[in-house]
Each structure stands twice: as structure tokens, then as C-alpha cells.
């Protein structure tokens, strides 16, 4: 370090213009690099997040004893309000979920009861799938939750990708770090690895069927695999999605659960 400092101070004295140019260039490079990582994540958010959205989806849960198919319709506003109604299979038809802030209400038509769950239970498996209640019903911006660095560029699934390393900057996140492969052209994550604070891989996701919807690229199918869970993962597919639609405010009320 002493030698380096000595060299730099020598350079500053002998060739001040070159030295200053070098310093500015180094600083600029770092700035640009940092900006580009944030930019990439912002562009990912622009593609994935929206003020509100209405979508119909299917879940194919591939277990050890065969697969199970679930169909639902979801209305979401920001990441704090969400309403899902299950349409299939018959046993789950009519089950509704309402998520407001950190609370989730589930209505069961068979018992005509509404129960509330919150806290860590929101991170439990949804209907035996590899998704948690949070993942199904939340649409929080990544830039709000994580600070990001670019690790490298890599090709996966035949597409050039930035490999981003995300580290939580807020407390209330399910996964402390993430590694995300983002398509360099479309800014859609093609693969994600989700880790605990101790660095243990908890879940991975792969995106398929990337489609242009309006101005944004959106993955219509995501395969989730909870590594702590048996089975071959859950295929979550959006069959129809509309962004920035008008949603009747009463949808996000407890009264709508029993309707």
C-alpha cells in the first residue's frame, strides 16, 4: 500500500493531468457499473411490477404421487393489496384469499369461516405448492428490497444474461440474498436462486414463455422449486394478464370474501 501511495503521489507530482484523468476514469467506471446494476434491477421491476394487475393462473404441483392442478384468478394493487379466488379443483373452488398489508384472510366456503393468518405463516407453502402465500400474492419491487451487484455475464437457456447478486437492504424479506440471471435484452429474470441469511439455497425459479405484453416483457410461466420440499416443483402459469386495470376498491375488503 505504501509503495502504491508513493507511486500515485509521484505520478500526481510528475504527471498531474494523467493522474487526475486516471482517477476520474476509475471513479466514473465504478459509478457507471453501480448505476448499471441498479438500472438493470429497475428495468426488471418495470417489467414485472405494476400499479395493479388482474390475472388468471394455473398451478401444476408435481409431487411424488403425481401432479395436482389448481386454477385461480387474482386481483392485485401494488404489493399490499391482493385478492385471489380459487376456481379449480372442485374441492378448492370458492376458497378466497385476501391479503392486506401483512395479514391474510382465507375464506372457506365448506365451513363458511374466514380465518386470518399472518407473520411467518405467510411464508408457508400455498396449497402444497412450492410457492408461499407471499410469493403468490405479493408484487413488491426488487429495488425496494435489495441492493444489487453485477457478478458477471453468462449465457443460459440460449440467452445472454447479467448475473446479479442481490442482498436484502430491508428486514422483512423472505430470502436474504438472491442470484438472478437477467436477460440482457429483455430485462426479465430467466433464473433465480434464493438463499437464506446463512447462505443456504432455499428455492430456485426458472422463467419460461417470455412474452411481450404492451410495453413490457413478462414471464408467463415460472417453475418454482422449494429445495426443502419433496416433489419436482410447481409450474405456475399465467393464462391471462391485464396490467393497470381499474379494480373496484370493494374487492379488497373482507366483505368480498363471502360474496
Amino acid at each position: 500500500m505504501k509503495l502504491k501511495n508513493h507511486g500515485l503521489s509521484n505520478l500526481l507530482i510528475k504527471r498531474p493531468i494523467i493522474a487526475i484523468t486516471l482517477i476520474v476514469l476509475i471513479l466514473q467506471c465504478g459509478f457507471i457499473f453501480g448505476q448499471s446494476a441498479d438500472d438493470i434491477l429497475s428495468k426488471v421491476d418495470l417489467n414485472l411490477s405494476s400499479n395493479n394487475r388482474v390475472f388468471e393462473s394455473t398451478m401444476n404441483i408435481i409431487g411424488r404421487r403425481g401432479s395436482r392442478f389448481i386454477k385461480s384468478k387474482t386481483y392485485a394493487e401494488g404489493y399490499k393489496k391482493s385478492f385471489t379466488e380459487y376456481l379449480y379443483p372442485p374441492g378448492d373452488k370458492g376458497t378466497k384469499m385476501l391479503k392486506l398489508e401483512d395479514h391474510l384472510w382465507i375464506y372457506s366456503p365448506s365451513t363458511d369461516r374466514t380465518i386470518q393468518i399472518s407473520g411467518h405463516l405467510l411464508r408457508q407453502s400455498l396449497m402444497g405448492s412450492d410457492l408461499s402465500y407471499e410469493e403468490m400474492m405479493e408484487d413488491r419491487k426488487l429495488t425496494e428490497m435489495y441492493k444489487v451487484n453485477i457478478e458477471k455475464k453468462e449465457e443460459i437457456f440460449g440467452r445472454r444474461c447479467y448475473v446479479l447478486y442481490l442482498e436484502a437492504k430491508v428486514e422483512d424479506v423472505a430470502y436474504f440474498t438472491q442470484r438472478m440471471w437477467v436477460d440482457v435484452e429483455r430485462f426479465v429474470p430467466l433464473k433465480q436462486e434464493l438463499y437464506s441469511k446463512s447462505g443456504k439455497l432455499l428455492k430456485w425459479m426458472k422463467s419460461e414463455k417470455i412474452q411481450k405484453t404492451g410495453e413490457r416483457w413478462f414471464p408467463m410461466k415460472v417453475i418454482y422449486k422449494d429445495v426443502m420440499k419433496e416433489g419436482d416443483g410447481t409450474e405456475f402459469e399465467i393464462t391471462d394478464i391485464k396490467f393497470n386495470q381499474y379494480i373496484t376498491p370493494s374487492i379488497f375488503s373482507k366483505a368480498s370474501l363471502k360474496k
Binding site: I61, G63, R64, R65, R68, P89, G91, D92, T95, W105, I106, S108, S110, T111, D112, R113, T114, I115, Q116, I117, L121, S125, M127, G128, S129, E230, K254
Partner: protein, 423 residues
């Protein structure tokens, strides 16, 4: 000869009283300890068998690999016919379906929304079939704190601690939120029939007991069961269980299906093997301790007696009695003392053991925060072994003491007798 010896023992009590008391006391302690330890170990084993492990258990091979997680989706399908087959194949055994589950008990307010909520571990067992042994196995009648046992499928028993904590009373309705066999959400309303207390803090914190039929309906598990528990007619018997499990598993030896039925023994679960081995070793352990300790004590007593009777043996030798005859009479005396001491010790030991078997000792306060299943009342258990476990070592060690201490007789020299006797 015997009458002569008895007369001697009775008239000279200093010769017989201490060895008799020592033998009798030692035998009594051995009998009581053996019965007590056998009682605690066997009750503990039976309690674990009744609630968790069975004497043996049938499940799918896939389930057996992750059985601690109790995954319902790896259950046996076609469980009813399998139960029938097991009962038919292994006469004298009882086989029952059990569903262990986890879930949330949700207590509603007047609007039907969540008022209070807590996690529970649940057991579903046959509560309603006439003549069911499951109520006795779970000791439900004695564990009942308030209310009654369920009389309908939509009734359940909650632990008293849980009910008090969430302010749920008899007749109140609650919702059980859990998972179905396929992994979907399961919602079922139940009414509290009664509250219970098992005595294990881990269980009492939050447990729910419902009828097996209710669980089958709630979790979409008609004709399925994650576990089929098997019970022998009497207590756990390692040999019988080994024979049954080997025979059963041999039927599926060439079957590679991960959902094939697979039987495991009680000793294969929850580290019960070491407890079973320990309980079986109690007898040997007791004998070893007794013979070792008592031999030393009685040998010392014999030596002291020998020293005290030094003059007597000298006079007898001087009067011309053969050394071997004196040695034999010493051993005969020891046999008599051993017999009387062992008989009185065994009888008094059995008496105390019987009291402990019938009354028991409440040990629930000793383990208020216990996380393992232990009986609340510790009881002794009198087995056939109690009749000889103290008796034989009592007799043997007394005689052994006399045999060793009596060797000194042969070291006496006749020429020195008069000098020794100071005549």
C-alpha cells in the same frame, strides 16, 4: 443335623442375626429395585408404544424415510384391507390406523372471524367404534380434565393448557386449518367435547384428539393412513415383533415400489432400541450388582463371624472334630441363613413392590417441563423374575461368603490350639 444347626442359630443369635438381616435386606432391595425399574421401563415403553410407535408400525417405504415429518401424501392407500389382512395373518395382534397431523386451531368471534389461533399437533384415532382399545391406549379417561370423550365425529379433545390459553370451553366450536392428503387446504369445524392433560409439557402445550373418521374426511384420506400401528396382546416382546416384521417385509422383498407397505419395529423408532435393550438388561444388572455387593458384605460378615468364633472352632478342633466337618457345618449354617434371609427378603420385597404397583408414586411434579413421554405415576411391575431375582443371589452370596471366610479353618494347627486357647 439341620435341627441341631437351627437350634444353634436360634440360641446364639449373634451368630445368625446380622447375616440374616443383611441377606434379607439385600434381597428385599433387589426385588423392589427390580420391580420398580421394570415397572418404569415397561410403562414408559408401553406409553410410547400406545401413543407414538406401536409395538410395530406399517407405513409406505417412502414414508418410513421421512416419517418424522409425517407427510400425509406418502400414506398407504388401501389401508382398510391391509388392516384386515394383518389382523388375519397375525393372530392375537391388534392393528389400528392412525393419522398424526399438524394444524392451526382457529377460534371464531361472533362474526365467524378469527378471535384466537394457535398451532396444534393432532392425533386421530378410533374413538367411536364399540370396544375400541384406543381410548385406553391414550389413557383418555384418566387424562380428562373437563367435559367428556367425543361421542360424534365432529367433536374433539383439546389439551387443557391450550383451551385455557385461548379461552375455549366445552361446547365451543373451533376450526381446524390443516392440509389434505394432496396438499390442499383443509378446513373443518369441531366442537370441544372435553379437555385433557397428558403430563408432557411438549404435548400439553397444544394437542388435539379427533376421531379417525373425522380426520379421514377432513384430509381426504378415506381408506388411507400414513401409519398402521400394531400391538401385541400383552407387553412388548422383541422376539415376537421381530418374527412378525421379518415375515411381513419378506412378502414385499422383490417389490421396488416406493409406496409398498413396510413394517418397522418399535426398537427402530425414536431411539427406543436402547431403552428396550436397557429394560431387558435390568435383571442381569441387578443380579450382578447384588452378588458383587452382597458377597463383599457377607464375606466380611463371615470373616468377622469367623474371628469371633475363633475360640469356638479351636475348642471344636481340640475336641477332635474334623476341620472339614466344621467347614461343612459353617456352610450348612450359611445355607440356612441364606434360605431364611432370602425368603423373608423376597416376601417383604414383593410386599413393597405390590404396594408400589398398586399405588405408584406421582412423579409429574418432578418433570414439569418434560419433552419426552413419561408416565405421570411411576409404578412397580411384579414379574416372575421378582421371585428369584433376589432369592438366588441372596442364597449364593451368603454361601459364597461362608465358603471364602471358612477357608481359615484349614489354616489352624492342632499343635498351636492349646497355646491359642490359653489353656
Amino acid at each position: 443335623m439341620i435341627r441341631f444347626l437351627i437350634k444353634g442359630l436360634l440360641k446364639d443369635r449373634s451368630r445368625s442375626l446380622i447375616p440374616l438381616i443383611v441377606t434379607s435386606f439385600g434381597v428385599m432391595i433387589t426385588v423392589v429395585l427390580h420391580s420398580w425399574l421394570t415397572g418404569i421401563m415397561s410403562e414408559s415403553l408401553e406409553l410410547n408404544a400406545n401413543i407414538t410407535t406401536g409395538h410395530m408400525k406399517v407405513m409406505t417405504k417412502a414414508y418410513s424415510e421421512v416419517m418424522d415429518l409425517s407427510p400425509l401424501n406418502l400414506s398407504i392407500i388401501g389401508a382398510d384391507s391391509l388392516v384386515k389382512g394383518l389382523k388375519k395373518s397375525y393372530a392375537g395382534t391388534d392393528w389400528v390406523k392412525r393419522i398424526r397431523f399438524g394444524g392451526l386451531v382457529d377460534v371464531p368471534d361472533e362474526k365467524g372471524e378469527t378471535k384466537a389461533q394457535g398451532p396444534v399437533v393432532g392425533w386421530s384415532l378410533d374413538l367411536l367404534t364399540k370396544g375400541t382399545k384406543e381410548i385406553e391406549r391414550f389413557n383418555l379417561k384418566k387424562s380428562l380434565i373437563s367435559g367428556s370423550l367425543p361421542k360424534k365425529t365432529d367433536e374433539g379433545l383439546l389439551t387443557d393448557v391450550f383451551a385455557k390459553r385461548y379461552n375455549i370451553g366445552i361446547g365451543d366450536t373451533f376450526l381446524l386449518f390443516s392440509n389434505t392428503f394432496e396438499g390442499s387446504m383443509s378446513f373443518t369445524n369441531f366442537t370441544v367435547a372435553g379437555t385433557i392433560r397428558f403430563g408432557s409439557e411438549a404435548i400439553d402445550r397444544g394437542a388435539l384428539i379427533i376421531d379417525i373418521k373425522a380426520a379421514e374426511k377432513s384430509f381426504n384420506m378415506e381408506d388411507s393412513a400414513p401409519e398402521i400401528l400394531g400391538f401385541l396382546e400383552h407387553q412388548y416382546d422383541d422376539e415376537k415383533v421381530n418374527l412378525i416384521s421379518e415375515d411381513f417385509n419378506s412378502l414385499y422383498r422383490n417389490n421396488d415400489d416406493e409406496f409398498r407397505p413396510y413394517m418397522i419395529r418399535m426398537r427402530d423408532q425414536n431411539d427406543m432400541g436402547s431403552i428396550i435393550d436397557y429394560s431387558q438388561a435390568i435383571g442381569t444388572l441387578m443380579v450382578a450388582i447384588f452378588v458383587g455387593a452382597m458377597s463383599v458384605v457377607l464375606w466380611n460378615a463371615g470373616l468377622l463371624g469367623g474371628l469371633r468364633r475363633y475360640s469356638e472352632f479351636g475348642i471344636r478342633l481340640a475336641m477332635g472334630e474334623e476341620k472339614i466337618a466344621i467347614y461343612k457345618s459353617l456352610i450348612y449354617e450359611a445355607i440356612l441363613i441364606g434360605l431364611i434371609g432370602s425368603i423373608t427378603g423376597t416376601i417383604s420385597g414383593l410386599g413393597i413392590s405390590y404396594y408400589l404397583q398398586e399405588k405408584g408414586i406421582d412423579i409429574s411434579n418432578l418433570m414439569p417441563n418434560s419433552s419426552i413421554l413419561m408416565p405421570q405415576i411411576a409404578r412397580a411391575n411384579i414379574t416372575i423374575a421378582a421371585l428369584y431375582i433376589g432369592f438366588i443371589p441372596g442364597l449364593v452370596s451368603t454361601v459364597l461368603g461362608a465358603v471364602i471366610s471358612g477357608i481359615g479353618i484349614f489354616k489352624r494347627k492342632t499343635s498351636m490350639l492349646f497355646k491359642e486357647l490359653e489353656v
